[in-house]
C-alpha cells in the first residue's frame, strides 16, 4: 500500500518537481555516502560522515527531567552520551509488518552522531550497509510523511526493491537541541 502510494508520488515528482536537485539533497562536495538503517519498519538513510562510530546496543540509563524523546545516556569512552529516541522524536508508530519482522534476528545498534561538536546516540533496529550512492539515484520525496518526519526528509531512493527515505541528521540535531 505504502509502496504503491510512493510509486504514484514518484511519477508525480517526475512531472512536477523542477527546483529539486541531487546536490541540494546532500553535500555535493564529495560523493554521497549513505548509512542505511531501519527504524520501526521504515528504511532510512543519512550522510555517513555525520556518524562518528557505531556501537552495539548497551544499557541506556534514563535521565530524570529530560525531554520525552531523550531515552537516556550511555557511557562511551568514558563520556556520557545522550541517546535520542528517533522514533518518538519523528512520531513514528510501529507498523504491523515491523511487529512480524520482530521475530527475525536483528542486531540493534547505537549510531553515534557527531555533528557541530555535539555527540548524540540514535538507536537503530538494524544497520543495513554503508555505501556510495550515485547522485542520479536520488530523487525528491513528495510523500506526506506521518508526524514530524516530513520536516527532516530531504530525498529518497530505491535499493533492492526497497524505498529508502533520506533524512537530514543535522536538522534533526538542531531541532532536538532547541527543544
Amino acid at each position: 500500500m505504502k509502496d504503491t502510494r510512493r510509486a504514484e508520488n514518484r511519477r508525480g515528482e517526475k512531472e512536477s518537481s523542477s527546483d529539486w536537485t541531487p546536490e541540494s539533497a546532500v553535500d555535493a562536495d564529495e560523493y554521497p555516502v549513505m548509512l542505511c538503517f531501519s527504524l520501526k519498519g521504515i528504511w532510512f538513510a543519512m550522510d555517513a560522515r555525520t556518524a562518528a562510530e557505531i556501537v552495539g546496543l548497551q544499557k541506556v540509563t534514563a535521565v530524570p527531567g529530560a525531554a520525552p524523546y531523550i531515552q537516556g545516556v550511555i557511557s562511551l569512552h568514558g563520556r556520557a552520551v545522550a541517546v535520542l529516541d528517533l522514533g518518538r522524536f519523528l512520531g513514528l508508530a510501529m507498523s504491523p509488518t515491523e511487529v512480524d519482522a520482530g521475530n527475525q534476528e536483528k542486531a540493534p545498534r547505537i549510531l553515534v552522531l557527531h555533528i557541530d561538536g555535539m555527540t548524540v546516540g540514535v538507536i537503530a533496529d538494524e544497520v543495513d550497509r554503508i555505501f556510495e550512492l550515485e547522485p542520479e539515484q536520488l530523487r525528491a520525496s513528495q510523500v506526506h510523511h506521518e508526524g514530524r518526519l516530513g520536516e527532516f526528509v530531504s530525498a529518497e531512493f530505491d535499493i533492492d526493491d526497497r524505498i529508502v527515505t533520506v533524512i537530514d541528521p543535522r536538522k534533526i540535531i538542531k531541532i532536538a537541541r532547541v527543544m
Partner: protein
C-alpha cells in the same frame, strides 16, 4: 435169611430139651421103684419144665424178631437212608428203649442232614454271587487302572510342558534383563549427547557474539574508510566483505542452532522411548518372575498328583490281585459247596423228597 436164624434157635432149644428129658428118664427108671412118690413130684417138675421151655420159645421168638427189625433199620442207616418211619416197637424192655433211641437218632440225623443240604445250597449260591461280584470288581479295577494310567500320562506331559515353560520363562527373564541394561546404557549415552549438545549451544553463542562484534568492527571500519575519502574506498570494500562474512557466520550459527534444537528434540524423544523401554522391560521381568513362580507351583502340584496317582495305581494293582484271589477263592468255594451238596445228596431224607426206602416190616 431171617427165617433161617429163627429155625436154628428153635432146633437148639429142642435139642436142649430132649437131652434133658433123656437124663430125667434114666433117673426115673433107676429110682421108679424106690421113688414112686418121687415120680409124681418129677411129673409135676417135668410139666413145669415143658411149660418153661414152651414159654421161653415164644419169648425168644418175639425178641429175635424185634432185634432183626432193628438190625435192618441200622443197616439202612449205614447205607444212608435216613427216612423217617414208624418203628413198631412199643415195649418197655431194652429192645424197646433201643428202638426209641434209634428213632430219635434218625430224626436228629435227618434234620441235621436237611440243614446241611440247605446250608450247602446257600453256600453254593452265595459263592456264585461272590464269584460274579469279584469278577465285576476285577473288571472295574482293570478299567480304573487304565484310567489312572491315562491320567499319569497326561500328568507326565503336563510336567514336561511346565519344564519347557520354566525354561522359556528363564530365557524371557534373561532377555528382559538384557533389554533393561541396554536401555539404561542408551539413556546414559543420550544424556551424554545432551550435555555435548548443550556445550555446542554455548560455543554457538560465543561464535554468534564474535560474529556480531566482527559485524560491528566491519561497520566502523567502513565508516572510517568513508571518512578517508577516496583513499578509504578500498578499505570500505574490504570492510563490506568482512560484514558479509560475519553475516554468513550468523546465518550458519542460526542453522546450526536449528539443527541442535532438532537433535535435542530427538534425544529427548529417545530418552522417553528408552525410559518407556525400561519400564516395559521391568514389567516383562516382573511378569516372567510371576510366571516362573506359578510354573513352579504347577510343577510341584503336578508332581504331587503324579505321586498320588502312583499310590492309587499301586492300590489298584493290589486290588486287582485281591480280586483275582477273591475270584479263585470263590471258585474254590463253589466247587467245595458243589461237592458238599453231592455228598449230602447221598443221604435220603424226607424233607428232600428223595426216593423212599421201603420198609422191611
Amino acid at each position: 435169611m431171617l427165617g433161617g436164624k429163627q429155625m436154628s434157635i428153635r432146633t437148639k432149644l429142642v435139642f436142649l430139651n430132649g437131652s434133658m428129658l433123656l437124663v430125667l428118664m434114666a433117673v426115673l427108671l433107676l429110682f421108679q421103684v424106690y421113688m414112686v412118690e418121687f415120680l409124681l413130684v418129677l411129673a409135676i417138675a417135668g410139666s413145669v419144665f415143658i411149660a418153661g421151655v414152651a414159654g421161653s420159645y415164644v419169648i425168644g421168638t418175639l425178641i429175635t424178631n424185634r432185634i432183626a427189625l432193628l438190625t435192618t433199620i441200622t443197616k439202612n442207616i449205614a447205607e444212608g437212608d435216613l427216612q423217617q418211619r414208624q418203628l413198631d416197637i412199643n415195649t418197655r424192655d431194652e429192645v424197646g428203649q433201643m428202638a426209641e433211641v434209634l428213632a430219635d437218632m434218625l430224626t436228629n440225623l435227618g434234620s441235621m442232614v436237611g440243614q446241611i443240604t440247605e446250608t450247602a445250597l446257600s453256600v453254593n449260591s452265595a459263592s456264585s454271587e461272590i464269584l460274579a461280584a469279584s469278577k465285576r470288581q476285577e473288571h472295574n479295577s482293570a478299567e480304573q487302572a487304565s484310567a489312572v494310567e491315562e491320567i499319569q500320562r497326561t500328568m507326565e506331559s503336563l510336567l514336561a510342558s511346565s519344564r519347557q515353560i520354566a525354561e522359556s520363562t528363564q530365557a524371557v527373564f534373561a532377555n528382559a534383563e538384557k533389554t533393561l541394561s541396554n536401555n539404561r546404557l542408551i539413556a546414559e549415552r543420550i544424556e551424554n549427547l545432551n550435555a555435548q549438545t548443550q556445550r555446542i549451544t554455548e560455543i554457538l553463542e560465543a561464535i554468534k557474539d564474535i560474529a556480531d562484534k566482527s559485524d560491528l568492527l566491519a561497520l566502523n571500519a567502513s565508516l572510517e574508510g568513508t571518512k578517508a575519502g577516496e583513499a578509504g574506498r578500498g578499505f570500505s570494500l574490504v570492510a563490506a566483505e568482512m560484514r558479509r562474512l560475519a553475516e554468513d557466520v550468523m546465518g550458519s550459527v542460526k542453522h546450526i542452532k536449528q539443527l541442535v534444537g532438532d537433535i535435542r528434540d530427538s534425544s529427548h524423544a529417545s530418552v522417553m522411548a528408552a525410559e518407556e523401554g525400561m519400564k516395559l522391560s521391568q514389567h516383562t521381568t516382573d511378569s516372567a518372575r510371576q510366571i516362573s513362580l506359578i510354573t513352579q507351583q504347577q510343577q510341584s502340584g503336578t508332581e504331587q498328583v503324579t505321586q498320588s496317582m502312583d499310590e492309587i495305581s499301586e492300590l489298584l494293582r493290589q486290588s486287582v490281585v485281591g480280586s483275582k484271589e477273591s475270584t479263585e477263592a470263590s471258585e474254590e468255594l463253589m466247587k467245595l459247596s458243589e461237592r458238599l451238596r453231592y455228598l449230602v445228596f447221598n443221604f435220603k431224607v424226607e424233607s428232600l423228597g428223595e426216593t423212599q426206602v421201603e420198609s422191611q416190616l
